[in-house]
């Protein structure tokens, strides 16, 4: 039986993601773990997170999990979700430019105030709800229709230095990178665990992915 470790570093609700992984692939052993050894032993790693980036990075640095993430992000199929995606970039302007893991070089910035849609309606921040995801070929999109809607809730978004790592974009109102892919690392700004059938399909794809593109 293959195993997936959901990294527990005290940021947010891991039950949703664990339940969704279990539902997406009943044949996989899903563990919520804080112990570096167990994370290093797992076949695949999910790095979730909600909340503020400064608290997230503090928790990772104090627990020593930063080094563990650096290691597994080089070796195993690795899925970052929401704040777990943002933490992979170089830095984040939230909380006065917080230094992050720099696994995917680039920056995380806030949506500007005063954004409007094409009809002149004010766009709210956070970007919350179901928005369309336009993706480029990657095994994690298997059996997912192009431009499917996934559930988002965030106020910051990633701008990678190398646009070749962009695996999907979403418009709010301009296109931003909502998924990044580099070797065995895949990261999404939306919440697959809350995106009903297409979200479960993406999790299922991840749980059967060998980390190759």
């Amino acid at each position: 039986m293959s195993s997936v470790a959901v990294i527990d570093y005290g940021m947010g609700n891991l039950h949703s993601i664990a339940k969704a992984l279990q539902h997406a692939a009943p044949d996989v052993d899903v563990q919520i773990v804080a112990d570096p050894e167990l994370i290093l032993q797992a076949d695949r790693v999910v790095f979730p997170g909600v909340g503020a980036i400064r608290d997230c990075m503090q928790a990772l640095n104090q627990s020593g999990l930063s080094a563990v993430i650096q290691s597994v992000a080089k070796t195993k199929p690795f899925l970052g979700i929401c704040l777990g995606m943002q933490a992979l970039l170089t830095d984040n302007e939230e909380n006065g430019n917080t230094k992050c893991l720099d696994i995917l070089p680039g920056h995380v910035v806030r949506f500007s105030d005063g954004l409007q849609d094409s009809e002149g309606n004010k766009l709210k921040i956070p970007h919350m709800g179901w928005n369309q995801v336009h993706f480029l070929p990657h095994p994690l999109w298997d059996n997912i229709p192009q431009d499917s809607r996934f559930y988002f809730v965030h106020s910051y978004y990633a701008i990678p230095d190398d646009t070749a790592v962009i695996a999907a974009t979403t418009e709010y109102p301009d296109a931003f990178a909502c998924a990044l892919a580099q070797d065995n690392v895949f990261a999404v700004q939306f919440h697959p665990e809350k995106s009903q059938a297409v979200g479960l399909q993406l999790l299922n794809n991840f749980l059967h992915w060998n980390g190759q593109i």
Binding site: K19, A20, D117, G129, W130, S195
Partner: protein, 257 residues
């Protein structure tokens, strides 16, 4: 391509059953909450909200079990409101599988609680529920105030300023209920919805008064709501969520179909 407006069915839960009454009287049983949530998920609900209206503290555990069960098989955002007064109440609901909690009277009695909750759990899971009622007379400039206890107790707090204050305290979303319209089936209070939605930066969910599908569309088009919440029109199978979404889409609203 753009963000879809959301339809959120609301389940009023008392002692483990879905109930719906007009202004908390004439309560009708509408079924088992887990069954009802499953049906709404199948029909395409964008989120589901549970409002715990259990009268006694002893029966509060039932809502936790309901959320646990729903969260293990329904993979869309779940919000729980009703009786959320402490950080521990929030932790219990999130651990049970809720994604957001609705804070209502506790915010009125102690606004700092909203700040503490947002700092501890993140704004994304803090929905501040506002029950507002019109207090201006015909011919006067519109004024709405916050009421507690199911719309019975006035607080004297002006609603638009209150909504803005709650956002600065960390609310990630506002659930706005018109106590004049709740249970009447006459449609949302559109001027109230629009006034609040235009005054705050975060999404606003319109609630209170839905009697037909045009009311839902009006909430978005005229009320500028980001999401619409309704209970009774869905519980008794007058309309399915799918019908509601198709109707709204036909009126030009971006929906997840």
């Amino acid at each position: 391509m753009s963000l879809a407006k959301r339809i959120i069915p609301c389940l009023d839960v008392a002692d483990g059953r879905v109930v719906k009454g007009v202004k908390f009287v004439d309560i009708r049983d509408a079924g088992d909450p887990v069954e009802v949530a499953r049906r709404y998920d199948r029909e395409g609900a964008d989120e589901i909200t549970f409002l715990d209206i259990t009268a006694t503290h002893d029966n509060r555990d039932t809502i936790v079990h309901v959320v646990e069960q729903v969260a293990s098989e329904v993979f869309i955002p779940l919000t729980v409101g009703g009786g959320i007064r402490t950080l521990d109440d929030i932790r219990r609901m999130l651990n049970a599988g809720a994604d957001k909690v609705g804070i209502n009277s506790a915010a009125v009695f102690n606004p700092e609680f909203v700040r503490e909750a947002a700092e501890r759990f993140g704004s994304q899971c803090i929905v501040v529920a506002i029950d507002a009622k019109k207090v201006s007379q015909p011919g006067e400039v519109d004024r709405w105030e916050i009421f507690t206890h199911g719309g019975r107790k006035p607080t004297g707090i002006e609603a638009i300023g209150w909504a803005q204050k709650m956002v600065t305290y960390g609310a990630g979303e506002i659930l706005l209920t018109s106590m004049d319209r709740d249970g009447t089936r006459e449609g949302f209070d559109l001027p109230l919805t629009r006034a609040i939605s235009e005054a705050v930066t975060v999404p606003v969910i319109a609630s209170g008064g839905v009697g037909n599908l045009d009311h839902l569309a009006d909430g978005v088009i005229k009320g500028k709501a980001d999401a619409v919440l309704a209970a009774s029109i869905f519980h008794f199978a007058e309309y399915t969520i799918q019908q509601a979404k198709e109707h709204m889409a036909a009126r030009g609203i971006e929906m997840r179909l």
